[in-house]
């Protein structure tokens, strides 16, 4: 049935377009050349402000080890443990971001391991670790390179841009966090001196 349908759909497209088919020019690639990042610290602050406006939080830490310690402290503060099916995913999961976008407070996470494919969605709290080196101003082909390369390589799974905690406004437009995904989202950026930020 689908083979017949396929042929019929393509025949209908060809008939509908007639001589107009393929006459449009390929539009030039939309993304302009990127400006070099002058102040990564300012970018990190912008990221933090954007994410805060969406109900998420950002912590600046020196390195990976400090990030691990900060996540443990963050979990202790909230009285939560690593999420599992046993506790109905009420705990937290830790993800690694390939890129952060300051303009939107977003993190790009590429998930190709079947075992962790639900980590961005099931736990009540989501912790994301990223390097300051992966901070970008906004969405463009350079900042999305990790996702685009995975797609072009033929990797499996998904690349997801996470912009704040899960949310809904389906009831009288009242925003409620934690609709189906995490209610809390914390991003830990390594390679940023928190003390320096406090003085900024």
């Amino acid at each position: 049935m689908s083979a017949d349908a396929r042929a019929a759909v393509f025949a209908a497209i060809d008939a509908a377009l007639g001589s107009n088919a393929a006459h449009a020019d390929m539009p030039p690639l939309a993304t302009p050349a990127r400006a070099p990042i002058a102040d990564r610290h300012a970018l990190a602050r912008r990221f933090r402000a954007e994410l805060a406006s969406l109900g998420g939080e950002t912590r600046f830490v020196a390195d990976e080890e400090a990030a691990r310690a900060a996540i443990e402290a963050f979990a202790r503060e909230r009285g939560i443990e690593k999420a599992s099916e046993r506790d109905d995913w009420s705990g937290y999961a830790v993800l690694r971001a390939s890129a952060l976008f300051a303009d939107t407070g977003s993190a790009l996470v590429v998930v190709s391991d079947p075992g962790t494919r639900l980590a961005p969605y099931l736990p009540r709290t989501c912790c994301i670790v990223a390097s300051a080196e992966d901070l970008h101003a906004g969405l463009d082909s350079h900042s999305l390179a990790a996702a685009f390369e995975a797609a072009r390589r033929g990797d499996c799974g998904e690349a997801v841009i996470v912009t704040g905690p899960s949310r809904t406004a389906d009831i009288e437009k009242t925003i409620v966090l934690g609709a189906h995904g995490p209610k809390a989202l914390a991003v830990f950026i390594t390679g940023i001196d928190d003390t320096e930020d406090d003085h900024a």
Partner: protein, 462 residues
């Protein structure tokens, strides 16, 4: 394609219009819609070149539609190369049949559904239920309208027509939970209920906001996380999309991501932008690509650009008719100005010929559209189609237009017509029953005044 969709089309639902106009909750839905529109306006000008992006998006869509066959073939090839299977459907019914075949093949007794307007076209829930398969809407708004046994009234806010009190009463009645009208509490009830379903379902279904030909990538944009869970939790993911969703390159996606959330909800980006790359080990992925009347739209150059629509709902939010009449008045899946174009173009002017008249032609939809679809001109074109196909102009209307056309043919005829109108107005004031055929128009309006003398007469008398 000769076979057209639309058995379920009610066309322009006059009863729904009357009911919605009388609905005391109407103003709340109107407010929500206006608020959404205002949020969108504030966000879009904040930090992007909105007009530049709109122009880029339009150019990409023009190219994609002109090269539709080639891009769909490329998408199919790339999707298959990554382990997915592509199925094709001429009609919504055929698409539902293909979906049911997948359910049978994988022994699925339950389907969790992310938001998909195409699945509404397919009437998938009803068809699944008839086959003994439980469909579970996971988007909160869709879940609410499914529970209420209703259709969505807005493509972005499906339950915008219901108040929190109505939803609280609905949950108490249908889910046997204590009454609560706090949106957070209601959302939590739905979350807990649906959560287990993701892990139990045999199939997860999503729509597709975009399909990237270059890499066979399905892109889904959403806020709740239900799209991610529907696609990634069950062992099988089925994406259902119209033929027009294909875009050429990954880089083109950036333009649409900048536009979509800003136009739809006023966000800079939605909470989740998923690029589904291909099924992970041990899992399956399908993509059902549906025509269902889209090639009819493609064949008509006057309305072809309606296929550029990215389903943001912005045209509805600014439309004075939609704001007052609500989504159900449009009788089919797509409400608002875009629905008034798509529905008659997809299902046939004979089935939905009244919809293009449900517009003031104010142009707000065209100004708002992130991909610059010229909706007012398309509505005018479809109006003329509707009139040509007959049945959409009353005898009185045809008579009046005939008189007007004759009057405009010469200055003498025009002079006589003005004189007759002047006399006619005086007679109508004395004998109002004479204008009974116009009562729908005159019930809330006076007949227009006719000047005592024409400009030419005044000029000649100086």
């Amino acid at each position: 394609m000769s076979e057209r969709e639309g058995a379920a089309v009610i066309a322009y639902d006059r009863l729904a219009v009357e009911r919605d106009f009388a609905d005391p909750h109407g103003p709340a839905a109107l407010f929500a819609s206006m608020q959404r529109s205002n949020d969108a306006k504030r966000a879009r000008h904040a930090d992007v070149d909105w007009e530049g992006l709109r122009e880029q998006a339009r150019a990409i869509k023009v190219f994609a539609i002109a090269n539709l066959g080639e891009l769909l073939r490329r998408f199919e090839r790339e999707f298959q190369a990554r382990g997915g299977a592509v199925l094709w459907a001429r009609t919504g019914e055929e698409a539902a049949g293909a979906f049911l075949d997948i359910c049978k093949r994988h022994g699925a007794a339950m389907v969790v559904k992310g938001k998909s307007m195409v699945s509404e076209e397919m009437e998938l829930n009803a068809r699944l239920e008839r086959a003994g398969i439980e469909p579970v809407e996971t988007d909160l708004g869709e879940f609410i309208v499914q529970l209420a046994g209703q259709r969505p009234s807005h493509i972005i806010g499906p339950a915008v027509h219901l108040s929190r009190q109505e939803i609280g009463a609905l949950f108490a009645r249908e889910l046997q939970v204590p009454y609560d009208d706090d949106p957070a509490a209601l959302s939590e009830i739905a979350r807990r209920l649906i959560r287990r379903k993701y892990l139990e379902a045999g199939i997860g279904m999503t729509g597709a906001n975009f399909a990237v030909a270059e890499t066979g990538t399905i892109v889904v944009v959403e806020n709740e996380g239900n799209g991610g869970l529907s696609a990634m939790a069950p062992p099988v993911h089925v994406a259902v999309m119209g033929i027009e969703k294909v875009i050429p390159r990954l880089d083109d996606l950036i333009v649409f991501l900048h536009l979509l959330a800003r136009a739809a909800t006023g966000q800079k980006l939605s909470a989740y932008t998923h690029l589904f790359l291909g099924p992970v080990a041990g899992r399956s992925a399908y993509c059902i690509i549906v025509d269902a009347g889209r090639t009819e739209v493609l064949a008509d150059e006057h309305v072809r650009s309606a296929l550029h629509c990215i389903r943001c709902g912005a045209c509805m939010n600014v439309c004075p008719i939609y704001r007052r009449a609500g989504g159900w008045a449009y009788g089919w899946v797509y409400p608002g100005p875009i629905g008034s174009v798509l529905t008659p173009a997809m299902v046939g002017i004979d089935k939905a010929g009244e919809l293009p008249f449900a517009s003031t032609l104010c142009g707000a939809c065209r100004d708002e559209c992130p991909v610059k679809i010229d909706l007012p001109n398309q509505l005018v074109h479809l109006r003329s189609e509707a009139v040509e196909h007959g049945g959409h102009a009353s005898r009185v209307e045809r008579f009046a237009v005939g008189v007007w056309a004759n009057a405009m043919r010469s200055s003498t005829a025009y002079r006589r017509a003005v004189g007759a109108a002047r006399a006619g107005r005086s007679i109508a004031k004395l004998f109002p029953w004479l204008i009974k055929p116009l009562r729908a128009w005159t019930r809330e309006r006076e007949l227009p005044h006719v000047a005592r003398q024409t400009f030419r007469d005044w000029w000649a008398s100086r």
